[in-house]
Symmetry: D2
Subunit: 265 residues, 4 copies
């Protein structure tokens, strides 16, 4: 890492596949940030992403990172802060979705894994990064939430438990760190995202393409990662007098989580 | 109104004094919108604002508008749509704050007035404007909320009743109109705003200046209208695949509405 | 009214037809309260109810009361307190449901009427009754809420606006009066009630009977007023160390307001 | 265990010290249930409780149970169902409160322990018990929540994260099991409880007695476990047409979680 990037502001994105995280990576890179983006697996995709970003003239470094493993987050934060630069914005975008599973089909290990991905990873990131940001008196931690952050539902035993926990952890972190200049922001993604790496893999390519045709494309019924990224970028640049803690995002044609689709009396 | 402004997108701001509404007016004007801004009274201030905006080269028209009077909103919307241009974004920023009053000190007339300002005015705006926007398949209605939108408190009998009503009306409007391309967005202003016309008048000039020194200025403890306006502008330009229905805004050093200040167990 | 009933504790039920209000009336009467029950119209039904209650050996008086008319609530409260006895528990059970109506089909007068029934009537009751209860250091105000109290939905412009307002008014009343010994309690009825006077009239007798067969009876898919009344009675007798402000009630087979019925991702 | 108790309905209370859990144990025992009560430690206190209950003529069995240990909950549920009787009502009352700790002072192990106590234990109980109840088409799972279930706060990183998770797990369990006849109910204890084993130990005897004198006793400013138990008992006996999913409980003089104590504008 040369001096030039040392002087750049750094944006760290944990959970940077081909969906929301990838789009945020591109957005911050295109705005002049050095982006450190991390994904759980797929070294090949990681290198392609880094190559692509550099081909655009951006400053970027990709990392394979399993947030469920000890010391991984801790080491990455340390390395960036020591060798690359000060983290201006960190995005915790690790998903914990496992599809709908009945209680019987949700194993103890699955439930525990959900907690590690959804909650504990964020906690470890916060523990390592927020004191540094507080010492600088500035910084952003943007955290991706989901419909399951605000309500449990059938088959969501693991997902809702960990996403609600993630949200409340954000509230606690905010209560301690906002006063010290660190902006914590929780973004509720309340709809299906046009993301090949997550929704696409869950549905399979054929069903995913069908969904895109029925709901997405010009119908605007799937959240587009590039537009999500614009709001994340806006949130990371709010003035300290005027911070958002929580915002929701959904396609105009999606039914919000608080609405039944059935006839109401 | 000449042809030039006819071709401009129009932003209508109801409740445009020297605080949030005024800042939104300036922001949209500076971005090339024709702004129609309305305030309850003070023709002098209105004309000064219009003069100022025109002196910047902006396109603007000011209106005195009492939202509690019959047909006022209805006529203004009709006039704008017919003579000025299509309303791209309407902002309902009418306050209904009367300070803290005990139940005994809150008269029936006061309570009714609170409802007219807080809820009924928005309802009338929606009834007149949203069908037009729906027919065009596009448009934004941004609605200013407050701490009292999400919780009642001592002395807030009138304010909380009407602001919660306003919020829920937004949810109902969203359920009917989002699908038709109209973006409804409710912004919770959860803190004190550095606004001479509202907070300033409530406190008086001396106490207001003291508050600014203790909490505002470089301490960033008062919401700055110009920064609030940036978020409103961002929200009005989200892509239909990725809309925010609700967001909150507060100074970094303010305690969010859901947090006690007392020691918790 | 003889001395005997003067010594009885009084329960005032506003909105006492053949559903929730009627069942609460019976429950409190059967537990030894003098019940003052009021309904908007139908003198015949009122007298039958009074006759029935007296035939059970209960102490009761029925009143025709239009809460949208000036001074009606005020006079009734005054009359009861002066001539009958101290109101131990007041139940505000006035509905404001008008079925699902689009914004276009919701007239200004309808919206205003919704506010008068849903919010303003409660406010007037509170203004007249709570200071008396506070002076005694004891009393209960139980307020019936609905699904629309916590979320707006398509067609619920009037209903959600007024029910959310009612709920927030309860929070404000609680903040001022709980400390003075007055128990404010808001009960969210989140499902269809087996009530001939409201749901029955809305659906018509044939459709209502069909609904009862498909969802009600031994299927327990409709809220039974007599069981609702048990919970109201419990809430009115909680110890001041242990008060409920809010509770929800729904049939075991109903989908809660926060759950979609569609498959979630 | 003789045949007599085999025929009794069983109430299982996990987390039964000298506070809420103990009072629920006594209440259900006094109403004719066989109570299986479990606490983490203190065999002596456990035996005293069992002795006391039997001296009242009640049917009871005490168990030492560490919910953080593998297979403990699983074995207890199995043993009760096989040898004692059908569990009519289970109460998960395990606390996860560690007092207010900054992020720095909240160790990874502490955070994980909070999750095990607050969330994972309930999940394991649900996994083992709810299918049995569903097969019987009846049963209650009452879960104790806290202020931290609905909002994070300074120093509550661990507590709020796990209690919010617990709450959302309840919502998911409800979505799957209510339809099958199993009543899930989440009770938010939003205030200080007059409980020697938890609050008493946290404060120490002198400060606890001072608190009781300042807030408790006839001032009713501390939640009394015996009165909490009455509401739990009521909730466990609601008719399937009329179930509560969530209720809150607080002393009349406590400030609800949604209210600031500071002057509001």
């Amino acid at each position: 890492m040369n001096n030039q990037s040392r002087e750049k502001k750094v944006c760290l994105i944990i959970g940077a596949g081909a969906g929301i995280g990838g789009a945020i990576t591109k957005k911050f890179a295109s705005e002049g940030y050095h982006v450190c983006f991390a994904r759980r697996s797929d070294q090949h995709a990681l290198m392609n992403m880094e190559k692509y970003l550099k081909s655009c003239g951006y400053s970027a470094s990709g990392h394979i990172l399993d947030v469920t493993k000890e010391d991984t987050i801790e080491e990455l934060v340390g390395k960036i802060e020591q060798k690359i630069g000060s983290i201006h914005t960190a995005v915790y975008n690790v998903g914990a979705q496992i599809g709908n599973r009945s209680l019987e089909d949700t194993k103890l290990k699955t439930f525990e894994l959900g907690w590690k991905l959804g909650t504990f990873g964020l906690y470890r990131l916060a523990k390592n990064l927020l004191p540094i940001m507080a010492a600088r008196g500035t910084g952003n931690l943007l955290v991706t939430g989901a419909t399951a952050s605000v309500r449990g539902n059938s088959g969501q035993h693991s997902h809702a438990a960990t996403m609600a926990s993630r949200r409340m952890l954000c509230q606690s972190l905010n209560a301690e760190f906002a006063l010290q200049g660190v902006h914590i922001c929780h973004i509720i993604i309340d709809g299906l995202v046009d993301a090949p790496d997550t929704l696409g893999k869950m549905l399979g390519p054929a069903e995913f393409e069908l969904l895109r045709q029925n709901k997405g494309y010009e119908k605007n019924g799937l959240l587009l990662p590039s537009h999500i990224a614009e709001t994340y970028y806006h949130l990371a640049h709010q003035h300290p007098s005027t911070w958002t803690f929580e915002t929701d995002l959904r396609p105009h044609s999606a039914i919000p989580w608080w609405n039944h689709v059935t006839k109401e009396f």
